[in-house]
Subunit: 208 residues, 2 copies
Amino acid sequence: MQISPWDKRNARDRERLLKRDAVLQVAVRSFNEKGFNATSLDDVAESLNVTKPTLYRYFSSKDEILFECVRLGLEGLQNAAASVERRGGDGMERLKALIRDYAMLMTQDFGMCITRTSDHELSPESRMKFRSMKREVDATIREVIEDGIRDGSIAAGDVRMMAFTVTGALNWIARWYEPGRELSPEQIAERCLATLVGGLAPRSGAEG
Amino acid sequence: MQISPWDKRNARDRERLLKRDAVLQVAVRSFNEKGFNATSLDDVAESLNVTKPTLYRYFSSKDEILFECVRLGLEGLQNAAASVERRGGDGMERLKALIRDYAMLMTQDFGMCITRTSDHELSPESRMKFRSMKREVDATIREVIEDGIRDGSIAAGDVRMMAFTVTGALNWIARWYEPGRELSPEQIAERCLATLVGGLAPRSGAEG
Protein backbone atom coordinates (compact mmCIF):
# COMPACT_ATOMS: atom_id res chain seq x y z
CA MET A 1 0.00 0.00 0.00
CA GLN A 2 1.27 3.39 -1.04
CA ILE A 3 1.44 5.86 1.89
CA SER A 4 1.14 9.49 0.94
CA PRO A 5 3.83 11.79 2.33
CA TRP A 6 1.02 14.06 3.57
CA ASP A 7 -0.43 11.25 5.66
CA LYS A 8 3.01 10.59 7.04
CA ARG A 9 3.32 14.18 7.98
CA ASN A 10 -0.10 14.12 9.65
CA ALA A 11 0.91 11.05 11.59
CA ARG A 12 4.08 12.81 12.76
CA ASP A 13 2.08 15.87 13.81
CA ARG A 14 -0.43 13.74 15.65
CA GLU A 15 2.32 11.93 17.47
CA ARG A 16 3.97 15.19 18.39
CA LEU A 17 0.69 16.50 19.82
CA LEU A 18 0.15 13.27 21.75
CA LYS A 19 3.60 13.54 23.29
CA ARG A 20 3.12 17.21 24.09
CA ASP A 21 -0.21 16.39 25.81
CA ALA A 22 1.46 13.65 27.84
CA VAL A 23 4.01 16.17 29.16
CA LEU A 24 1.19 18.56 30.16
CA GLN A 25 -0.80 15.80 31.87
CA VAL A 26 2.12 14.75 34.05
CA ALA A 27 3.21 18.32 34.74
CA VAL A 28 -0.23 19.64 35.74
CA ARG A 29 -0.64 16.91 38.37
CA SER A 30 2.71 17.77 39.87
CA PHE A 31 1.92 21.52 39.83
CA ASN A 32 -1.39 20.82 41.58
CA GLU A 33 0.06 18.48 44.20
CA LYS A 34 3.51 19.89 44.90
CA GLY A 35 3.31 23.39 43.50
CA PHE A 36 5.22 25.07 40.68
CA ASN A 37 8.47 25.59 42.56
CA ALA A 38 8.74 22.06 43.89
CA THR A 39 7.96 20.55 40.48
CA SER A 40 11.13 19.32 38.81
CA LEU A 41 11.24 18.80 35.07
CA ASP A 42 13.64 15.91 35.72
CA ASP A 43 10.85 14.16 37.64
CA VAL A 44 8.33 14.97 34.91
CA ALA A 45 10.71 13.54 32.30
CA GLU A 46 11.40 10.44 34.41
CA SER A 47 7.67 9.74 34.76
CA LEU A 48 7.51 9.72 30.96
CA ASN A 49 10.64 7.55 30.57
CA VAL A 50 12.49 10.31 28.75
CA THR A 51 15.20 12.80 29.71
CA LYS A 52 14.75 16.50 30.35
CA PRO A 53 16.19 17.60 26.97
CA THR A 54 13.34 15.66 25.32
CA LEU A 55 10.82 17.93 27.07
CA TYR A 56 12.53 20.95 25.53
CA ARG A 57 11.46 19.73 22.09
CA TYR A 58 7.91 20.64 23.13
CA PHE A 59 8.31 23.54 25.56
CA SER A 60 10.99 26.15 26.06
CA SER A 61 10.74 26.30 29.86
CA LYS A 62 8.88 25.21 33.00
CA ASP A 63 7.17 28.63 32.89
CA GLU A 64 5.80 27.86 29.45
CA ILE A 65 4.48 24.48 30.64
CA LEU A 66 2.72 26.11 33.60
CA PHE A 67 1.15 28.78 31.41
CA GLU A 68 -0.03 26.15 28.93
CA CYS A 69 -1.70 24.21 31.78
CA VAL A 70 -3.45 27.32 33.08
CA ARG A 71 -4.38 28.33 29.53
CA LEU A 72 -6.03 24.96 28.89
CA GLY A 73 -8.01 25.36 32.12
CA LEU A 74 -9.12 28.85 31.13
CA GLU A 75 -10.01 27.59 27.66
CA GLY A 76 -12.45 25.22 29.37
CA LEU A 77 -14.03 28.13 31.24
CA GLN A 78 -14.13 30.21 28.05
CA ASN A 79 -15.92 27.40 26.21
CA ALA A 80 -18.45 27.14 29.04
CA ALA A 81 -18.98 30.91 28.89
CA ALA A 82 -19.33 30.86 25.07
CA SER A 83 -21.88 28.05 25.15
CA VAL A 84 -23.92 30.02 27.69
CA GLU A 85 -23.86 33.03 25.39
CA ARG A 86 -25.34 30.92 22.59
CA ARG A 87 -27.87 29.25 24.90
CA GLY A 88 -31.50 30.28 25.17
CA GLY A 89 -33.45 30.70 28.38
CA ASP A 90 -33.65 33.34 31.07
CA GLY A 91 -30.68 34.68 33.02
CA MET A 92 -31.06 32.18 35.86
CA GLU A 93 -31.22 29.14 33.55
CA ARG A 94 -28.09 30.31 31.76
CA LEU A 95 -26.28 31.11 35.01
CA LYS A 96 -27.13 27.67 36.39
CA ALA A 97 -25.70 26.00 33.27
CA LEU A 98 -22.53 28.08 33.62
CA ILE A 99 -22.18 27.32 37.36
CA ARG A 100 -22.53 23.59 36.65
CA ASP A 101 -19.89 23.59 33.92
CA TYR A 102 -17.55 25.81 35.96
CA ALA A 103 -17.84 23.58 39.06
CA MET A 104 -17.08 20.45 37.03
CA LEU A 105 -14.01 22.06 35.44
CA MET A 106 -12.69 22.89 38.93
CA THR A 107 -12.51 19.16 39.70
CA GLN A 108 -10.37 18.50 36.60
CA ASP A 109 -6.59 18.83 36.41
CA PHE A 110 -6.28 21.90 34.18
CA GLY A 111 -9.20 23.74 35.80
CA MET A 112 -7.76 23.02 39.24
CA CYS A 113 -4.45 24.47 38.08
CA ILE A 114 -6.08 27.90 37.54
CA THR A 115 -6.96 28.24 41.23
CA ARG A 116 -3.89 26.51 42.60
CA THR A 117 -1.50 28.72 40.64
CA SER A 118 -0.73 32.04 42.28
CA ASP A 119 -0.60 35.11 40.11
CA HIS A 120 3.04 35.60 41.03
CA GLU A 121 4.05 32.13 39.84
CA LEU A 122 3.37 33.22 36.24
CA SER A 123 5.84 35.30 34.27
CA PRO A 124 4.74 38.93 33.80
CA GLU A 125 3.82 38.24 30.15
CA SER A 126 1.85 35.07 31.01
CA ARG A 127 0.14 36.91 33.86
CA MET A 128 -1.15 39.53 31.43
CA LYS A 129 -2.55 36.88 29.06
CA PHE A 130 -4.01 34.98 32.03
CA ARG A 131 -5.77 38.06 33.35
CA SER A 132 -7.19 39.00 29.99
CA MET A 133 -8.63 35.48 29.46
CA LYS A 134 -10.02 35.54 33.00
CA ARG A 135 -11.59 38.96 32.45
CA GLU A 136 -13.57 37.58 29.48
CA VAL A 137 -15.04 34.78 31.59
CA ASP A 138 -15.81 37.17 34.47
CA ALA A 139 -17.51 39.57 32.05
CA THR A 140 -19.80 36.80 30.76
CA ILE A 141 -20.78 35.84 34.33
CA ARG A 142 -21.66 39.46 35.12
CA GLU A 143 -23.64 39.81 31.87
CA VAL A 144 -25.68 36.69 32.60
CA ILE A 145 -26.40 37.94 36.14
CA GLU A 146 -27.44 41.32 34.73
CA ASP A 147 -29.73 39.61 32.21
CA GLY A 148 -31.30 37.60 35.02
CA ILE A 149 -31.89 40.65 37.18
CA ARG A 150 -33.48 42.38 34.19
CA ASP A 151 -35.81 39.45 33.35
CA GLY A 152 -36.65 38.87 37.04
CA SER A 153 -35.14 35.39 37.30
CA ILE A 154 -32.25 36.55 39.53
CA ALA A 155 -32.56 38.63 42.72
CA ALA A 156 -31.46 42.26 42.44
CA GLY A 157 -28.10 43.09 44.01
CA ASP A 158 -24.53 44.30 43.48
CA VAL A 159 -23.68 42.41 40.26
CA ARG A 160 -19.91 42.57 40.73
CA MET A 161 -20.10 41.26 44.30
CA MET A 162 -22.60 38.58 43.28
CA ALA A 163 -20.20 37.41 40.57
CA PHE A 164 -17.27 37.36 43.03
CA THR A 165 -19.32 35.35 45.53
CA VAL A 166 -20.23 32.79 42.86
CA THR A 167 -16.75 32.45 41.37
CA GLY A 168 -15.14 32.36 44.84
CA ALA A 169 -17.30 29.43 45.90
CA LEU A 170 -16.57 27.68 42.58
CA ASN A 171 -12.85 28.40 42.42
CA TRP A 172 -12.45 27.11 45.97
CA ILE A 173 -13.57 23.63 44.85
CA ALA A 174 -10.15 23.34 43.22
CA ARG A 175 -8.47 23.87 46.59
CA TRP A 176 -10.31 21.25 48.65
CA TYR A 177 -11.34 18.65 46.05
CA GLU A 178 -9.44 15.37 46.15
CA PRO A 179 -10.32 13.07 43.24
CA GLY A 180 -11.73 9.72 44.34
CA ARG A 181 -12.16 10.62 48.02
CA GLU A 182 -15.10 12.94 47.48
CA LEU A 183 -18.55 13.24 46.07
CA SER A 184 -18.61 12.93 42.29
CA PRO A 185 -17.98 16.13 40.29
CA GLU A 186 -21.69 16.11 39.33
CA GLN A 187 -22.79 15.94 42.99
CA ILE A 188 -20.39 18.72 43.96
CA ALA A 189 -21.70 20.92 41.13
CA GLU A 190 -25.37 20.29 42.09
CA ARG A 191 -24.89 20.94 45.82
CA CYS A 192 -22.79 24.04 45.35
CA LEU A 193 -25.40 25.31 42.87
CA ALA A 194 -28.21 24.57 45.38
CA THR A 195 -26.62 26.74 48.07
CA LEU A 196 -25.73 29.57 45.69
CA VAL A 197 -29.15 29.67 44.04
CA GLY A 198 -31.36 28.93 47.06
CA GLY A 199 -29.30 30.75 49.67
CA LEU A 200 -28.71 29.75 53.29
CA ALA A 201 -32.04 31.18 54.51
CA PRO A 202 -34.99 28.79 54.24
CA ARG A 203 -37.56 29.60 51.56
CA SER A 204 -41.29 29.70 52.14
CA GLY A 205 -43.25 26.57 51.16
CA ALA A 206 -44.70 28.25 48.07
CA GLU A 207 -41.25 28.58 46.55
CA GLY A 208 -40.43 24.90 47.12
CA MET B 1 13.16 59.23 89.41
CA GLN B 2 14.16 55.69 90.36
CA ILE B 3 13.35 53.19 87.61
CA SER B 4 12.78 49.62 88.74
CA PRO B 5 14.80 46.99 86.89
CA TRP B 6 11.54 45.10 86.35
CA ASP B 7 10.08 48.07 84.49
CA LYS B 8 13.22 48.22 82.44
CA ARG B 9 12.81 44.58 81.55
CA ASN B 10 9.17 45.10 80.61
CA ALA B 11 10.18 48.02 78.44
CA ARG B 12 12.77 45.84 76.71
CA ASP B 13 10.20 43.08 76.16
CA ARG B 14 7.70 45.57 74.80
CA GLU B 15 10.26 47.00 72.43
CA ARG B 16 11.24 43.53 71.27
CA LEU B 17 7.60 42.71 70.53
CA LEU B 18 7.11 45.99 68.68
CA LYS B 19 10.12 45.29 66.49
CA ARG B 20 9.00 41.72 65.87
CA ASP B 21 5.56 43.02 64.84
CA ALA B 22 7.15 45.53 62.46
CA VAL B 23 9.00 42.69 60.70
CA LEU B 24 5.75 40.73 60.31
CA GLN B 25 3.87 43.77 58.98
CA VAL B 26 6.43 44.42 56.25
CA ALA B 27 6.85 40.73 55.42
CA VAL B 28 3.14 39.94 55.13
CA ARG B 29 2.61 42.72 52.60
CA SER B 30 5.45 41.43 50.48
CA PHE B 31 4.17 37.83 50.72
CA ASN B 32 0.71 39.02 49.66
CA GLU B 33 1.95 41.15 46.77
CA LYS B 34 4.97 39.28 45.43
CA GLY B 35 4.52 35.82 46.90
CA PHE B 36 6.70 33.86 49.30
CA ASN B 37 9.41 32.90 46.83
CA ALA B 38 9.91 36.39 45.43
CA THR B 39 10.04 37.95 48.91
CA SER B 40 13.61 38.68 49.89
CA LEU B 41 14.52 39.15 53.55
CA ASP B 42 17.12 41.66 52.40
CA ASP B 43 14.28 43.81 51.02
CA VAL B 44 12.25 43.35 54.21
CA ALA B 45 15.27 44.40 56.29
CA GLU B 46 15.96 47.38 54.03
CA SER B 47 12.36 48.63 54.41
CA LEU B 48 12.94 48.63 58.17
CA ASN B 49 16.37 50.28 57.89
CA VAL B 50 18.16 47.30 59.35
CA THR B 51 20.27 44.46 57.92
CA LYS B 52 19.16 40.88 57.44
CA PRO B 53 21.08 39.53 60.50
CA THR B 54 18.92 41.83 62.67
CA LEU B 55 15.79 39.96 61.47
CA TYR B 56 17.32 36.70 62.68
CA ARG B 57 17.13 38.00 66.25
CA TYR B 58 13.35 37.64 65.92
CA PHE B 59 12.86 34.75 63.53
CA SER B 60 15.00 31.79 62.56
CA SER B 61 14.00 31.72 58.87
CA LYS B 62 11.73 33.10 56.14
CA ASP B 63 9.61 29.95 56.62
CA GLU B 64 9.06 30.87 60.26
CA ILE B 65 8.01 34.41 59.30
CA LEU B 66 5.50 33.08 56.75
CA PHE B 67 4.03 30.64 59.25
CA GLU B 68 3.75 33.36 61.89
CA CYS B 69 1.84 35.57 59.37
CA VAL B 70 -0.55 32.75 58.49
CA ARG B 71 -0.91 31.82 62.17
CA LEU B 72 -1.91 35.40 63.05
CA GLY B 73 -4.53 35.33 60.29
CA LEU B 74 -5.90 32.01 61.52
CA GLU B 75 -5.90 33.34 65.09
CA GLY B 76 -8.27 36.05 63.86
CA LEU B 77 -10.58 33.42 62.36
CA GLN B 78 -10.35 31.31 65.53
CA ASN B 79 -11.33 34.33 67.65
CA ALA B 80 -14.30 34.98 65.38
CA ALA B 81 -15.30 31.32 65.69
CA ALA B 82 -14.89 31.37 69.48
CA SER B 83 -16.98 34.51 69.86
CA VAL B 84 -19.74 32.89 67.79
CA GLU B 85 -19.67 29.86 70.07
CA ARG B 86 -20.27 32.09 73.12
CA ARG B 87 -22.93 34.11 71.31
CA GLY B 88 -26.66 33.63 71.82
CA GLY B 89 -29.22 33.57 69.02
CA ASP B 90 -30.31 31.02 66.46
CA GLY B 91 -28.00 29.32 64.00
CA MET B 92 -28.57 31.88 61.23
CA GLU B 93 -27.85 34.87 63.49
CA ARG B 94 -24.62 33.25 64.64
CA LEU B 95 -23.63 32.23 61.11
CA LYS B 96 -24.23 35.78 59.88
CA ALA B 97 -21.99 37.18 62.63
CA LEU B 98 -19.28 34.70 61.69
CA ILE B 99 -19.55 35.45 57.95
CA ARG B 100 -19.23 39.19 58.65
CA ASP B 101 -16.13 38.77 60.82
CA TYR B 102 -14.60 36.26 58.37
CA ALA B 103 -15.16 38.57 55.38
CA MET B 104 -13.59 41.54 57.17
CA LEU B 105 -10.52 39.47 58.13
CA MET B 106 -10.04 38.52 54.46
CA THR B 107 -9.48 42.21 53.63
CA GLN B 108 -6.71 42.50 56.24
CA ASP B 109 -3.04 41.64 55.70
CA PHE B 110 -2.75 38.52 57.86
CA GLY B 111 -6.14 37.15 56.89
CA MET B 112 -5.32 37.70 53.22
CA CYS B 113 -2.08 35.77 53.72
CA ILE B 114 -4.05 32.61 54.61
CA THR B 115 -5.68 32.45 51.17
CA ARG B 116 -2.71 33.75 49.19
CA THR B 117 -0.33 31.19 50.68
CA SER B 118 -0.39 27.80 48.98
CA ASP B 119 -0.25 24.73 51.16
CA HIS B 120 3.02 23.76 49.55
CA GLU B 121 4.73 27.02 50.47
CA LEU B 122 4.62 26.00 54.15
CA SER B 123 7.12 23.54 55.61
CA PRO B 124 5.63 20.10 56.35
CA GLU B 125 5.54 20.86 60.09
CA SER B 126 3.91 24.28 59.60
CA ARG B 127 1.43 22.75 57.17
CA MET B 128 0.28 20.30 59.85
CA LYS B 129 -0.25 23.11 62.39
CA PHE B 130 -1.97 25.23 59.75
CA ARG B 131 -4.36 22.43 58.82
CA SER B 132 -5.24 21.66 62.43
CA MET B 133 -6.03 25.36 63.16
CA LYS B 134 -8.07 25.51 59.97
CA ARG B 135 -9.98 22.35 60.84
CA GLU B 136 -11.12 23.97 64.12
CA VAL B 137 -12.56 26.97 62.29
CA ASP B 138 -14.21 24.75 59.67
CA ALA B 139 -15.72 22.58 62.41
CA THR B 140 -17.31 25.63 64.07
CA ILE B 141 -18.81 26.76 60.76
CA ARG B 142 -20.33 23.33 60.21
CA GLU B 143 -21.67 23.21 63.78
CA VAL B 144 -23.35 26.59 63.43
CA ILE B 145 -24.92 25.51 60.11
CA GLU B 146 -26.14 22.28 61.76
CA ASP B 147 -27.62 24.28 64.66
CA GLY B 148 -29.40 26.52 62.19
CA ILE B 149 -30.84 23.62 60.20
CA ARG B 150 -32.05 22.08 63.48
CA ASP B 151 -33.71 25.30 64.72
CA GLY B 152 -35.17 26.04 61.26
CA SER B 153 -33.27 29.29 60.65
CA ILE B 154 -31.06 27.76 57.90
CA ALA B 155 -32.26 25.79 54.87
CA ALA B 156 -31.66 22.03 54.99
CA GLY B 157 -28.84 20.77 52.81
CA ASP B 158 -25.44 19.06 52.64
CA VAL B 159 -23.72 20.75 55.60
CA ARG B 160 -20.17 20.10 54.42
CA MET B 161 -20.88 21.45 50.91
CA MET B 162 -22.72 24.45 52.37
CA ALA B 163 -19.69 25.22 54.55
CA PHE B 164 -17.32 24.90 51.55
CA THR B 165 -19.52 27.21 49.48
CA VAL B 166 -19.52 29.84 52.23
CA THR B 167 -15.81 29.66 53.01
CA GLY B 168 -14.90 29.57 49.31
CA ALA B 169 -16.78 32.79 48.64
CA LEU B 170 -15.18 34.39 51.72
CA ASN B 171 -11.64 33.13 51.16
CA TRP B 172 -11.77 34.41 47.59
CA ILE B 173 -12.15 37.99 48.85
CA ALA B 174 -8.47 37.77 49.80
CA ARG B 175 -7.58 37.04 46.17
CA TRP B 176 -9.38 39.94 44.48
CA TYR B 177 -9.51 42.61 47.18
CA GLU B 178 -7.23 45.59 46.67
CA PRO B 179 -7.18 47.96 49.66
CA GLY B 180 -8.28 51.48 48.80
CA ARG B 181 -9.54 50.67 45.29
CA GLU B 182 -12.62 48.83 46.42
CA LEU B 183 -15.76 49.02 48.49
CA SER B 184 -15.03 49.28 52.22
CA PRO B 185 -14.48 45.97 54.07
CA GLU B 186 -17.88 46.50 55.76
CA GLN B 187 -19.63 46.89 52.38
CA ILE B 188 -17.90 43.81 50.99
CA ALA B 189 -18.93 41.78 54.05
CA GLU B 190 -22.57 42.92 53.82
CA ARG B 191 -22.93 42.28 50.09
CA CYS B 192 -21.24 38.89 50.18
CA LEU B 193 -23.48 37.98 53.14
CA ALA B 194 -26.58 39.14 51.23
CA THR B 195 -25.86 36.80 48.29
CA LEU B 196 -24.95 33.82 50.50
CA VAL B 197 -27.96 34.20 52.80
CA GLY B 198 -30.59 35.30 50.25
CA GLY B 199 -29.37 33.23 47.31
CA LEU B 200 -29.35 34.18 43.64
CA ALA B 201 -33.03 33.28 43.10
CA PRO B 202 -35.50 36.05 43.93
CA ARG B 203 -37.57 35.53 47.07
CA SER B 204 -41.34 35.97 47.23
CA GLY B 205 -42.61 39.33 48.49
CA ALA B 206 -43.67 37.87 51.85
CA GLU B 207 -40.08 37.02 52.70
CA GLY B 208 -38.83 40.52 51.90
